[in-house]
Amino acid sequence: MIKEIILPELGEGIDGAEVSEVSVTVGDVVAVDETIMVLESDKASMEIPADVSGTISEILVATGDELKPGHVLMKIETTEKNVEAQVTVHKAQPTEPETKPEEFVLSELKTVFGTTGSSENVFASPGVRRLARELGINLQIIKGSGPKGRITKDDLNGYIKLKMAMSSGLIPAPKQEVDFSKWGDVEIQKLTRIKKITGERLQRAWQSIPHVTQFDEADITDIDAYRKELKIDGAKKGIKVTFLPFLMKAATIVLKERPAFNSSLDHTDQHLVFKNYYHLGIAVDTPNGLTVPVVRNVDKKSIFDLSEDLMDLSTRARDKKLKHNEMKGGTFTISSLGGIGGTGFSPIVNPPEVAIMGVSRSAWKQVFDKESGEFQARFVMPFSLSYDHRVIDGAAAAAFTSRLAAVLSDLSYFKD
């Protein structure tokens, strides 16, 4: 039988994408999960897999097309029978338990008429009343925005959006329009999509996670000297060795010792998930806004490996060439403003992670050395750790940063 492959929801905040590559041609035999095309949004590129196996019989899109979720991409002659075209790309949920759809709907029906009897005395046209039934909305509680208070389809959509926003903890406060031009000359610039998405995520994280930030500093005189040695070696191989790989290695060492910092709360908020892998997100500032590519298996990589990974990811982040997956799966994030300045800041945790490290500008300081009884010039890096207080206690966080400072000051952790 012929099945249509439909563009699924692309993930939070992405409402459209451009076709950058069609990976199959008519007649190709594809298996489930095999990539059939690559899309590119403002932020990332995404591979779209086939949801059924079979032979491609028709391709309905071309490179450069702007697509929205729900668009029919191609038709496929399937070998499987009665496969419902259910595509879930990012929401890789297990197959849902089989519920009889008819029973489901019949029980749902009650919500509309259940308490109120009927839609009588409601000012809404028959079409709106039907949509309300389909969406399970009790019209009695909707305030109509149409002429004379008529409930319109837009009112129902608005209600659904509000519900969704409320359930995600994002309650949009009604905002008043301010005429800034009243006070002087202004210019108006539209937010980039990446800025909007990041903004929404940051707000959600900020509102849903009880944040605490711990501040500390590390003596990095020795490893910085070591880094300069490596830098010369690296230059020969064409690898730029920055300080970041050292921070990643150090963080991973401490994360291994303190697994709570590498954990996540599950969706029920009832369990902690400890991860036995160490994928570190690195905040990268790009002309379009902030992105956080993830470096995988940091614990298994050398300083040079990590340097190479970082060069590749940050270049592609700036060119908008990152794939969606390359920004997923992080277990801990480092946000470094060390190259820019500042003495300390409190970063926002990047959920579902539970902790993030913020790095500020290192500086030479006079430090008293007990052994020699003298002040010595040491290169000191101020850093912070913001954490989810539901998962991590203050004492544990203080211990974490102390330990991290200790690791960073001990060259033996970095020399093989």
Binding site: E102, F123, P126, R130
Partner: protein
């Protein structure tokens, strides 16, 4: 049993509600069997109700209009009536529509089983067909078995001279004197047909009004016309006995306040309402609840008390109207197919297809007064409509009842030619929650009868310029 079948959805009854249910379910991807005991599809409405009666009413209306032309200087001779030709004309119309439904059923792959269905359990039916009994099992069943003319005690139901709406439409002959028992919609429509074809028609109505329950101002223009067309209209009267005699005529005893009288008629038409066909279905074999009037109880989703059995149309209650059944049928089909439909309408329009037509929708004045519901009224007499005068229809009127608070349309009543077509605008106004100014600000074409709807709202608003209405 010789044969057995299974359907995802089986529909009992192929009337306007039943075939709508079957077709909707099929369009939603269900495998459907449609059962009807008639040899053709379309039920009472198409085969012996709405459609054939409208074919005959069209004839009587044109005859009436033609004779009316004498007032305008055109005179025809006496009409020559060929009853066989009229019958053939009527049958042709019905046949054409029968064929249309059969083709639509075929195109949708709805299986049509001809036979009388009775329940054997809540998941199985037995269908008595020409070729023996067939067992039909189902996942879901939609009962659309309709209704039949009610009978009255004292009147022999099976005598050839005692007609029902069904046999009256067969038009076997034109009786010299016809008695219509019951001055409701069906009685008046058929009375007018027979009167136009030459019968002397008398109407006996038990209640003090024709079209009981209908606002008297809407009935009046019709009653005035019927007085001229009919031999007599006897209200608050009751037929106690109808006795066939040897001469082939009928002795009829009629009782009223003044006493009892005997009259002789050639035929009697019993049109005292309809009763649901619930008793033909062996419904007791299921858990379906039936109320004391024989109607099947359903909820807004057309579900009976038995989860997989739905019921729609005449068999679930009044008003027994095809358009109600059609909508209910589609709701049942959608809910049975897993969609969140419901019979959620503000009003169901009623139309009397006499000449003049009478139509109403939503709240009536009678109802409002009986129940103490507050309303205000905008009324436009057709005597002020150029189109109505040109058509010699100046007896008509259009009235709209409004909510005194928010001025929304609560009900509409129209009498006059085309009232049945015009009521649709009133229905749309009610469903959309239109108020007086929505209607008066809507441009209506001139000159039409339809513009009287806009003008009735203008009268209410005080913005009318086609009448002078002193300020309130």
């Amino acid at each position: 049993m010789a044969e057995s079948k299974h359907a995802e959805i089986v529909v009992i009854g192929a009337g306007p509600g039943g075939y709508a249910a079957a077709f909707r379910a099929a369009d939603l991807g269900k495998q459907v069997i449609l059962i009807d005991k008639d040899p053709t599809l379309g039920g009472v409405c198409l085969n012996r109700g709405c459609i054939p009666s409208k074919a005959l009413l069209h004839i009587s209306k044109v005859m009436e209009e033609a004779s009316h032309l004498s007032k305008m200087g055109i005179t025809y001779g006496e009409p020559q009536i060929d009853l066989d030709a009229i019958r053939a004309h009527k049958d042709k119309i019905v046949f054409q529509l029968n064929e249309g439904i059969a083709q639509m059923a075929k195109a949708r792959k709805v299986e049509w089983v001809k036979g009388a269905a009775t329940f054997t359990s809540n998941t199985e039916l037995s269908v008595k067909t020409d070729v023996g009994d067939i067992a039909v099992s189902f996942n879901k069943c939609i009962v659309a078995a309709g209704s039949v003319s009610a009978t009255i005690p004292g009147v022999p139901a099976d005598h050839p001279s005692v007609l029902t709406s069904r046999t009256a439409l067969d038009l076997v002959d034109i009786p010299e004197r016809l008695l219509v028992i019951g001055g409701g919609i069906i009685g008046l429509e058929l009375g007018q047909v027979y009167a136009a074809l030459g019968s002397k028609v008398s109407v006996v109505e038990f209640l003090p009004n024709l079209l009981p329950g209908t606002d008297s101002d809407l009935v009046k223009p019709l009653q005035r016309k019927l007085k001229k067309q009919f031999e007599s209209i006897q209200l608050s009267s009751k037929v106690t006995t109808v006795t066939p005699n040897k001469k082939g005529t009928l002795y009829v005893t009629i009782e009223n306040e003044k006493g009892t009288k005997k009259e002789v008629f050639n035929k009697v038409l019993v049109s005292v309402g309809r009763k649901p066909n619930t008793n033909l279905l062996n419904i007791e074999a299921t858990g379906v609840e039936v109320n004391e009037h024989g109607f099947i109880n359903v909820d807004v989703y057309q579900r009976t008390s038995e989860k997989n059995i739905f019921a729609i149309g005449d068999i679930v209650g009044n008003p027994m109207l095809a358009h109600k059944a059609t909508h209910e049928g589609r709701v049942a089909a959608e809910v049975a197919s897993g969609h969140p439909a419901a019979f959620d309408v503000r009003a169901i329009p009623s139309v009397v297809y006499t000449d003049p037509e009478v139509a109403w929708a939503g709240l009536t004045e009678t109802e409002a007064k009986d129940n103490g519901i507050a309303y205000e009224k905008g009324e436009f007499p057709w005597a002020a409509s150029g189109k109505a005068i040109a058509m010699d229809a100046n007896q008509g009127k259009t009235k709209i009842l409004f909510d005194p608070e928010n001025k929304k349309v609560l009900g509409v009543g129209i009498v006059g030619p085309g009232a049945g077509d015009m009521i649709s605008e009133g229905m749309l106004a009610i469903e959309m929650g239109a108020d007086a100014e929505d209607i008066s600000l809507t441009v209506h074409p001139h000159p039409t009868l339809g513009e009287t709807f806009g003008m009735a709202a203008e009268v209410f608003e005080g913005t009318i310029t086609d009448l002078y209405v002193p300020k309130k």
